[in-house]
Amino acid sequence: MKYLFIKMLALTALLVGSTYAATAQDFRPVLLYDIGGKFDKSFNEAAFRGAERFNTDTGIEFRDFEPNSETQYEQALKRFARRRADLIVAVGVGYAVAVRNVAQRYPDVKFTVIDAVIDLPNVQSVTFKENEGSFLVGMIAGMATKSGKVGFIGGMDIPLIRRFQVGYDQGVRFVRDDIEFIENYVGTTPSAWNDPIKAAEMAKSQYARGVDIIFSAAGPSGLGVINAAKDSNALAIGVDSNQNHVQPGFVLTSMLKRVDLAVEQAMQQAKNGTWAPGHVVMGLPEGGVDYALDEYNASLITDEMKQRLEEARAKIISGEIAVADVEGSNEGH
C-alpha cells in the first residue's frame, strides 16, 4: 500500500513535470477524465480523441489527468485551477459536485463539464439528447427485426436511462406498430453498471422468448448483453461509443454519444473567445448523437434502411418529429 502511494506520487510528479514544459503558450486547456483510464475504449477515449484533434488542428498542447478514485476529482480540479489553466474540461456526471465547489472558488477559470448541468457564471454544461440517438437505433431495430420482438436492457433504473428507453421505444414504433417490446433493468443501485452476468442472463431470457435485437444502455454490464447475443446467435445494439467491433456481426449498430466533438468544440471556442457559459445541448442537429456505421455492421444496415433513417433525421431536426424525453435526466445521481 505504501509502495503504491509512493509510486502514485512519483507518477504524478512525472506527469506534472512532463506537461509543464508545454505551458509556455497563451492558451492552456486541461482535460480531466472520468475513472477508468484514458484508453477505456469508451467515454474517456472519446474525450481524448477530441482533445487530440484540437491539438493537431491548432498545435496547442493540452494537459490531462486520469483519476483513480472519486476523491481525486476535486483535488485535480483545484490543482489545475490554481496553476492558471484557461479551460478545464471535466468528463462525466461524477464531476458535478466537484466542479460546482471548485468553480465557485476560481471564478476566472473556465470550466466545461460534460453530462452534468451546473448553473454558474464560469461553467459550461454539455449534455446530450440520448433520446434522439436512441430513436434512430430504435428505427434500425424495428426495420431489422424478423421476429417482431425487440428488447431493451437498462443498467441502473434512473431518469437518464429511461430517456434512452423512451427514445428507443418511440423509434421502434415509428417503423412498425405491431412490435412487442420487452424491457429489463439490471438493478436499482450503482452496482447495476458492473453486473455483466445478470445482464447476460436477462438478455438470454429475452432472446429465448423470441426477441432478436436488444439495445443495452447499461455501461460495462452491456458487454454481457453483447456476449449473450453471440452465444444466442442474435443481435445487440451497443451504446455510448462505437461497440460494433466488440463482437463483429452480432452488434447491429451502436448509439453514439459524441463526447469527442463536445471536448473539441469547447477547446476551440475557448481558444477563439467564443466560449460562453450556460447549458449546451447536443442532439441530432448538432451531431451530438448518432448511430454507428462501419465495416463491422455494413452488411447489416441496408441502403433502404439508411434512406429511411436520413428522412427521419431530417424530420427530427426540422421538428416534425418530436422525440419524447424524461424529466431530471442530467441532475446527477
Partner: protein
C-alpha cells in the same frame, strides 16, 4: 404450453446462475466447518475472476485461466488462514480486508496491464468454457417433456456449472465419509479434543482453507470465463455474500446449501422475468419492487421457516494451545 416453456427457461437460467453460488457456498462451508469464518468469499471470487480473465486473455486458454483463478484464490485463502490461524486475528476483519483490497487492486492492475478502464479484454470463444452439449441431446430433443428437459435444461451448460453440481456430493463425501472429513468437522466443533488426540489443528485448518480457496477459485473463474467473457470491476456483485447467506440458510450442510443456492438463483431469474409483465389482478409490478423480491424472500425464509440454526461451535474462534 407457453407456461411450460417459461418454467423451462427459468430453470435453465437457475442452473446457470446457481453454479458459482454453489461453489462459493461450499467454499464457505468447508472453511466454517473447520472453524474459520470466511467472509472474504466475495473478494476471493473477484480475485479469481480477475486472474482467470487475465490469464485466459494472455494465453487464450480457459484452462490457464482456471489455474490462475484457483492460484489467486488459494493465495488469498492462505493469507486469511495466516491471519486467523497463526496470528489469531479477528477473522471478520481479515475477511473484510480481503474484500476491500481486491475490490481496489483488481481494477487497478487491470488498468495497468490492459489499459481498458479497469476491465480485461473481452475473451474470444476459444478462451472461454463454452456450452457443452451432452451426448444424445440432439437425438432425443424430439421426445415430449423428457427430451426437452434433457436437451434444453440439463444439456448446454458450461463445464464449470457441471463441476459445481458434482462438487456437492464430493464435498459431502469428504466431510461425512472420510477420516479427514471427520477431523475437519471436529476441529470446527472442539479443537481441544483434536489437539489432545495428537492431530495438528493448524494443519487441518490450513487444509480446509486450501480446499475453500480451490472451490472459490473455480467459482470466480466461472464468472469471468464461463458465464461472462472477461473481467469487469466489481463483477462478483455481492455473490460471495449471497453464498454465505445460502450456507447459513443451509445450516452448514452440503445438500441444504445446494437447495438454498438454487432457491436464490431461481428467485433472481424470476425477478428478471417478472419485470414489465402485467400479472393478473395486480397489473404491472414496478421494477424497484421486483428487484427487491429476492431479498424480501430471504428475510421471510430466514425469519420464519428455517428454524434453529447452529453454527460449528468453534467457528470464528482462534485456537490457542496454551490457554
Amino acid at each position: 404450453m407457453e407456461f411450460l416453456v417459461d418454467i423451462l427457461l427459468l430453470s435453465d437460467s437457475t442452473l446457470r446462475v446457481a453454479g458459482p453460488l454453489i461453489l462459493a457456498a461450499l467454499a464457505g462451508l468447508c472453511a466454517e466447518r473447520a472453524g474459520i469464518v470466511d467472509i472474504g468469499l466475495e473478494g476471493k471470487m473477484l480475485a479469481a475472476a480477475f486472474a482467470a480473465a487475465s490469464a485466459a486473455s494472455v494465453t487464450a486458454s480457459p484452462w490457464a485461466g482456471l489455474l490462475a483463478g484457483i492460484v489467486a484464490s488459494v493465495l488469498l485463502s492462505l493469507l486469511h488462514g495466516y491471519v486467523s490461524i497463526n496470528q489469531r486475528g479477528n477473522q471478520i476483519v481479515s475477511g473484510m480486508a480481503i474484500n476491500i483490497m481486491v475490490a481496489g487492486l483488481a481494477p487497478t492492475l487491470a488498468n495497468a496491464w490492459f489499459s481498458r478502464g479497469g476491465q480485461t479484454p473481452l475473451l474470444p470463444s476459444e478462451a472461454r468454457f463454452t456450452e457443452i452439449t451432452l451426448p444424445f441431446a440432439d437425438a432425443i430433443s424430439g421426445v415430449p417433456l423428457l427430451g426437452a428437459i434433457y436437451s434444453d435444461l440439463l444439456s448446454g451448460h458450461s463445464l464449470l456449472t457441471y463441476v459445481a453440481f458434482v462438487a456437492v456430493p464430493t464435498v459431502g463425501w469428504i466431510l461425512y465419509k472420510t477420516r479427514f472429513g471427520l477431523r475437519l468437522r471436529a476441529v470446527g466443533e472442539n479443537p481441544e479434543a483434536v489437539d489432545t488426540a495428537g492431530i495438528s489443528v493448524t494443519l487441518l485448518r490450513y487444509q480446509a482453507m486450501i480446499i475453500a480457496g480451490i472451490l472459490c477459485g473455480i467459482s470466480g473463474s466461472a464468472l469471468s470465463t464461463a458465464l461472462g467473457a472477461g473481467f469487469i470491476r466489481d463483477m462478483s456483485a455481492g455473490k460471495g455474500f449471497l453464498a454465505l447467506a445460502a450456507m447459513i440458510f443451509g445450516k452448514w450442510k452440503p445438500v441444504p446449501t445446494l437447495l438454498a443456492c438454487l432457491l436464490f438463483a431461481f428467485v433472481d431469474a424470476l425477478q428478471g422475468r417478472l419485470q414489465g409483465v402485467a400479472l393478473p389482478l395486480v397489473g404491472e409490478i414496478p421494477v424497484q419492487f421486483t428487484i427487491m423480491l429476492p431479498y424480501v424472500l430471504t428475510v421471510i425464509i430466514l425469519a420464519g421457516f428455517v428454524g434453529k440454526m447452529e453454527a460449528p461451535k468453534a467457528s470464528g474462534i482462534p485456537y490457542e494451545k496454551d490457554r
